[in-house]
Structures are given as structure tokens and as C-alpha cells.
């Protein structure tokens, strides 16, 4: 086993542990709980009233949130290589990254000033 695989062994172990825990929790629930099926139990809970049926259509405005998330997600992607090379990139890299983040922040400020973030 080479160094390469040894490094990722921990990742594999973590994934395995996650799967095991997930299975154990659901499995334990299945073993412990009583099994009394009733048709009412399969109805979606909607604040006491009967559900309209099916999936509701969500509002377009949620999409802006998703997009804001994507924006900062992509920012993170660019920050990784910068963080790894922080020393050798030096002050110059810091300025570059600062400009990048400031411009991105404008997007957030825009969304904020336009009242998109408020859910009144």
C-alpha cells in the first residue's frame, strides 16, 4: 500500500463509519418500535389540516438563496489553492484574494439591499 492510499484510508474509514452509523440507527429503530400500520400514518403532516396532495410548488424566490450558496461555494473553490500556497503567494496573493472577495461581497450586499434576504 502506497502513501497515496494510506492518506485516503481515513476517508474510506470515515465513509464506512458513517454508513454503519446510519444503518445502525435505522436498524435499531426498526427492531425496537412496535409495528401497527394505519393509513393515516402515511399522510403528509401539514399543520393539522388535510394536505392538498402531492408536492407543493415552491417559490422562485428560494432560487436566489440557492444561487447565493453557489456563489460562495465557488468562492471556496478558489480559496483552497490560495490557502495551500498562502506563503509563496505572499502579500500579492492576499491582495488578489481580497479584491475577489470584496467583489463577491457586493453580490451579497446587492441581495440584502434589494430585500431578497428578508422573508416578511
Amino acid at each position: 500500500m502506497t502513501e497515496f492510499y494510506r492518506q485516503y484510508l481515513s476517508v474510506a474509514v470515515l465513509i464506512g463509519a458513517a454508513a454503519l452509523m446510519f444503518g445502525a440507527m435505522l436498524g435499531a429503530g426498526r427492531l425496537l418500535r412496535p409495528n401497527r400500520p394505519q393509513p393515516e400514518k402515511f399522510i403528509t403532516y401539514e399543520a393539522g389540516s388535510d394536505p392538498v396532495g402531492g408536492w407543493g410548488q415552491s417559490n422562485v424566490r428560494y432560487y436566489v438563496y440557492a444561487l447565493l450558496f453557489v456563489m460562495f461555494d465557488v468562492e471556496a473553490v478558489f480559496i483552497f489553492p490560495w490557502a495551500v500556497n498562502l506563503k509563496s503567494l505572499g502579500v500579492y496573493g492576499l491582495i488578489e484574494m481580497a479584491v475577489f472577495i470584496i467583489v463577491l461581497t457586493l453580490g451579497l450586499v446587492y441581495a440584502w439591499r434589494k430585500g431578497v434576504l428578508r422573508w416578511a
Binding site: M1, T2, F4, Y5, Y8, V52, G53, G54, W55, G56, Q57, S58, N59, V60, R61, Y62, Y63, V64, A66, L67, L68, F69, V70, M71, D73, V74, E75, A76, V77, F78, F80, P81, W82, V84, N85, S88, L89, Y92, G93, E96, V99, F100, I101, V103, L104, L106, G107, L108, Y110, A111, K114, G115, V116, R118, W119, A120
Partner: protein
């Protein structure tokens, strides 16, 4: 070991891709897509392309699939598309083109690297002696491609502005449309 992992994750990639196409529920398709994308990320890792693997998981498996799910929710999950093909000849043509593509890929695979480029692990594309993959990417990203990199920030802001402009209802009053609750499915 590499070969074993390659086949395991190659199979998962293809399985996930089939799931995307075959699943009836669009949400399931999106989840199968996650499987495919994560498997591809592992394939990238096997090529020693750590940054691309990380990007694959963070951006694609994370962000892009989230966007897909949002769009699916926006359209409503139970609106099943009719499977009748509007253009009859489409399916055989698609099959034929797919077969040609497969033949092409197999042919090129026989020539090892189609483009003659080497893997990042071997004598690297930019010359191997500069340390790890991420460091090499950082070096070019923050020197040679500094300007495209900064423009990317502007582009991301534009994406948000575009989404806000298109998603909001009216121009003048930011408060008037706030009452609109999520509409229930029709």
C-alpha cells in the same frame, strides 16, 4: 489497487448515470446524479488530481445538484412528463450516434492517450517539478490567469443580480411582493 478502485467507481459512475436517466421521480434522478459525481471525483483522485476532485464534490455534488433540486421543486415533482416522443426518429438516431461515440472512445482508448497529454501524476502537464497538483494550479491561477480569475468574481455577482432581477415580481416596491406565500401545487 488502483485498478480495483477504478473498476468499482467506474461501475458506480455508470450505475448512477443509468439511474439518472431511468428513475421516474426527478428527485431520485438528482440523487443518482450525486452518486455519479462523487464516483467521478474518486476517479479524479486516482489520477492524482486532488483539486479537481474537491471541486467536483463541492461544486457539482454540492451546489449544482442543490440547484437542480430547487428547479425540480419549482416545477413541481408530480408533474410527470409524457414519455411519448414528439419526434419519432429521435430515438434510433440517438442510439446510432451513441454507438458511434462508443466505437470512437474504444478506438481512441486503443491509442492510450488520445491527445498525447500525460496524467498529472506522471511527468506532469506543466512539468512535474513544482510540487503538488494544487500548488501548481494555484501558481498559474494567481499569476498567469489572475485577470480571468478576478473577472470570475464579477461574473458570479452578475449571476446573483440576474437571478434577483428575473425572480422578483416588480421593480419599484421591494415590499409589495413579500406577502406572496409559496403557492401550493396545482
Amino acid at each position: 489497487m488502483t485498478v480495483v478502485l477504478f473498476f468499482i467507481f467506474g461501475a458506480l459512475t455508470i450505475g448512477g448515470a443509468l439511474g439518472v436517466v431511468l428513475a421516474r421521480n426527478p428527485v431520485h434522478s438528482a440523487l443518482f446524479l450525486v452518486l455519479t459525481l462523487v464516483s467521478v471525483a474518486v476517479l479524479f483522485l486516482l489520477q492524482d488530481a486532488q483539486l479537481v476532485a474537491a471541486v467536483q464534490i463541492i461544486v457539482y455534488a454540492g451546489a449544482i445538484v442543490v440547484l437542480f433540486l430547487f428547479v425540480i421543486m419549482l416545477l413541481g415533482v408530480d408533474q410527470t412528463e409524457p414519455f411519448a416522443e414528439p419526434l419519432r426518429f429521435q430515438r434510433p438516431v440517438a442510439l446510432a450516434l451513441g454507438a458511434i461515440l462508443l466505437a470512437e472512445v474504444l478506438l481512441l482508448a486503443g491509442h492510450r492517450w488520445a491527445t498525447g497529454a500525460k496524467t498529472a501524476r506522471g511527468v506532469g502537464i506543466t512539468g512535474g517539478a513544482f510540487g503538488s497538483n494544487i500548488q501548481r494550479v494555484a501558481r498559474v491561477l494567481f499569476t498567469t490567469f489572475l485577470w480571468p480569475f478576478e473577472i470570475t468574481a464579477v461574473l458570479l455577482v452578475i449571476a446573483v443580480i440576474g437571478a434577483v432581477v428575473l425572480a422578483r415580481r416588480s421593480a419599484q416596491t421591494p415590499d409589495s411582493e413579500s406577502e406572496s406565500a409559496p403557492r401550493s401545487g396545482s
